[in-house]
């Protein structure tokens, strides 16, 4: 038994830390303010560090990273509070585009791909209904397309012959209408309407397996953020003085932090279990991580007081990213209910 990171994983983690060095609230805000919400130069840098290619198979010119390797990256990005939508625009496309010629540009950081899976009125359903492919042309509307404001191509779930398939559509095509809108974590999503747009596909990727992988990555990123918020709050309680002593001397806050500590350890263990147990219930584990991470983030805001409410600190940013990830491909309530029913 061994829970240590291996040599390569240590390198990936260090690469993320290097990538995020010097990034703070101001630089993150500047990146978010760019059209589409993604800094293309930074994205290229992420690619050059191999952090996009790591998610792609070796046959596709990637590094064929395991879920374990990728979870290390996701957790480190979470801990550093990176604004780059790695899960949305690197992990997902790298997996979904397996075997596709588009992957080369994605791995190089030149093509930004966004995954269009959510449909209005369909909540968390993954089966495509309103978006259809007929004779190679794709029609219908997707929403909550994360990274959609910056995308060069869309990977779209669409119904063809009664089945949900994955198709690639050029984001700049005249038949594609993109309406960006801001989302909780400061990123930009889009409502995308396709009017008989030319679609390539279906792609070969196993959608269910990719989504489970994405759930694991979301969980790992939440763990990283929760650890960061916990550490920042602990430091704050040791330094902030009220009533003539550090806040951390108050027993009620000590106990609260012990509860937070227990939850942070629980979510770290939960993702290790997700990685190491065959056929682990990813959605349920993600739900467990999400509920605990949200609790930790709420406490981080509460214990920072007014400062925790402001957009000037990373605390609120962490809460918002956790809340967004908690609902990606299903929210905790629905995932736990599904898990209970399956048992």
């Amino acid at each position: 038994m061994n829970f240590d990171l291996d040599e390569n994983q240590e390198l990936f983690k260090a690469a993320v830390e290097r990538f995020c060095q010097g990034q703070d609230v101001a630089t993150r805000r500047a990146a978010r303010a760019l059209p589409g919400g993604i800094d293309r130069a930074r994205w290229k840098e992420l690619a050059e560090l191999g952090l996009i290619g790591l998610a792609a198979g070796e046959d596709d010119g990637g590094m064929g990273g395991s879920h374990g390797d990728l979870a290390v990256v996701a957790q480190a990005l979470g801990h550093a509070q990176a604004v780059e939508p790695w899960l949305e625009c690197a992990f997902l496309p790298a997996r979904l585009l397996a075997g596709s010629a588009h992957l080369e540009g994605v791995i190089a950081g030149e093509t930004i791909a966004a995954f269009a899976f959510a449909e209005p009125g369909r909540r968390f359903m993954l089966e495509a209904q309103g978006v259809k492919v007929r004779g190679g042309k794709l029609t219908g509307t997707k929403q909550f397309v994360l990274g959609g404001g910056a995308a060069d191509i869309f990977v779209v779930t669409a119904e063809e012959d009664g089945k949900t398939g994955l198709f690639v559509v050029d984001a700049k095509a005249a038949e594609v209408e993109v309406r960006p809108y801001p989302v909780a974590d400061g990123g930009v999503a889009a409502i995308v309407t396709f009017h008989d747009a030319a679609a390539e596909g279906p792609l070969a990727a196993d959608l269910a397996a990719v989504i489970d992988g994405a759930r694991l990555m979301a969980a790992a990123e939440m763990v990283g953020i929760a650890q960061r918020l916990f550490a920042d709050t602990l430091e704050y309680l040791k330094t902030r003085e009220q009533f003539g002593q550090p806040l951390g001397r108050f027993q009620v806050l000590q106990h609260r932090m012990v509860d937070a500590y227990a939850r942070v350890e629980s979510v770290q263990s939960a993702i290790l279990r997700a990685l190491l147990q065959p056929a682990a219930p990813m959605a349920a584990i993600k739900a467990h991580v999400a509920e605990n991470a949200i609790w930790v983030a709420h406490q981080a805001v509460q214990l920072h007081g007014g400062m925790g409410m402001s957009d000037e600190l990373g605390i609120g940013h962490g809460l918002k990213r956790i809340v967004l990830l908690s609902k990606l491909f299903g929210d905790p309530d629905s995932d736990i209910l599904d898990y209970a029913r399956a048992a």
Partner: protein, 402 residues
């Protein structure tokens, strides 16, 4: 034992309802409903304030001689309840509910004559200078210094979380007039005009993208010595009066119940993704049911407090639970709203307002667009006005005797 209002009170309720039906126009309702921040902006509140002032129903917590309507505690409760149910905008409470009653109680006749009419007319817009970077929960640690120089005070220091300071022309502040005595005893309650070179305001944007609060800086700001309320060193007593005045009867539950009713309506329309609506979702419906039971019980707690006040008896110790209960309930209700809307609950508009022609386009519904900023801003309910932790410590000591 009964929970009924008297025939006179029911008649008053009818009068209030008729008034609200008549005067609460669509713009005001929309402005109130589509405000995700804690306070409603002056473009909405000023209009509502003028309507209430004309009717004489504005300064409900003031004595009659100072311009109050002379209501009983029950009438006051009924008015607030009907306003909440009807979706009326909140009012600029910093003047009307906070500094107003202080001036009524501690002010000289000159101060009353000078300030009170202008609160009612809306000519003066007030903000509160309490917290400082080094004095949050530990409010008695305020450092902002006011020195008496001739017939004025010269003020230096800074205040933080000053709600609507960017709209205000006056601030009431806790300032240190004597740094040599025990910390509570060196504090005074001072009124300072905002429109002068020595006062500057810088915005603090919340994580929900709302600009409600600010940092306010005093750099040799001046105010006439006449603007001291009470005496030097009496500031802490006045600050405590202000808090106790806030606790003299409350009406928080009806707004919470009204929000739950709205969530239920939205749930009946929100698609579940499987050919039904979210009202049949086991998680959403159970959370709604639990919150409603708790809010209904809380409504009776508030009525128990009201019943004591109506009999002319002091309010019971339950008053200490009002802020704690209402803020926690409210946060859970706001979370439920976000969760109801699925992916659409994750949109977070950057611009304001979310009413009128300037409102940004929404995804799904306006209610969905409002849910995330309301939830994020609502995290402050357990922080401001005495955090949950401070409240619990006070209750443990003063109510439970621990």
């Amino acid at each position: 034992m009964d929970m009924d209002f008297s025939p006179e009170d029911l008649a008053f309720q009818k009068e209030v309802r008729a008034f609200l039906d008549d005067k609460l126009n669509a713009r005001l309702r929309e402005g109130a409903a589509n405000t995700p921040s804690v306070f409603t902006e002056p473009d909405i509140t000023r209009e509502w304030q003028a309507i209430l002032a004309e009717k004489g129903w504005l300064a409900t917590s003031w004595p009659v001689e100072d311009g109050g309507p002379g209501w009983t505690p029950t009438q006051k409760y009924i008015f607030e309840k009907e306003c909440a149910i009807a979706g009326a905008p909140s009012l600029p409470i910093l003047g009307l509910r906070l500094v107003g009653p202080v001036i009524c109680h501690f002010g000289t006749p000159e101060q009353k004559a000078r300030f009170l009419p202008r609160i009612i007319s809306g000519e003066d817009y007030w903000c509160q200078g309490y917290s400082e970077p080094g004095a949050g929960s530990d409010l008695a640690a305020v450092k902002t210094r006011a020195e008496r120089v001739g017939d004025k005070y010269v003020v230096n220091g800074s205040k933080i979380w000053t709600t609507h300071a960017h709209h205000a022309n006056w601030i009431f502040a806790l300032v240190r007039t004597d740094p040599t005595v025990q910390k509570q005893r060196g504090i005074s309650f001072l009124l300072i005009p905002m429109e002068q070179p020595g006062v500057s305001v810088s915005p603090i944007v919340t994580m929900a993208n709302d600009h409600e609060v600010n940092a306010t800086f005093f750099d040799n700001a001046e105010t006439p010595a006449d603007n001291l309320i009470g005496e030097e060193g009496q500031g802490w007593t006045i600050a405590k009066f202000l808090l106790e005045n806030e606790r003299g009867g409350s009406c928080a539950a009806p707004a919470l119940l009204a929000k739950l009713d709205r969530i239920e309506r939205w749930a009946k329309e929100e698609a579940s993704g499987t050919n039904g609506t979210m009202i049949h979702d086991p998680n959403i419906s159970q959370r709604l049911a639990r919150l409603r039971l708790e809010a209904q019980a809380f409504e009776v707690t508030e009525l128990r407090i009201l019943a004591e006040l109506a009999k002319g008896r002091p309010a019971g110790p339950q008053t200490s639970l009002v802020k704690l209960t209402s803020s926690n309930l409210r946060q859970q209700i706001d979370e439920l709203a976000v969760d109801l809307f699925g992916y659409e609950g994750l949109q977070l508009p950057v611009t304001r307002p979310l009413y009128g022609n300037e409102a940004p386009e929404y995804v799904g519904s306006r209610a969905a667009q409002l849910s995330m900023p309301a939830y994020l801003n609502g995290r402050a309910y357990t922080i401001f006005g005495g955090s949950d932790e401070v409240q619990k410590t006070i209750i443990a000591k003063q109510v439970l005797g621990l």
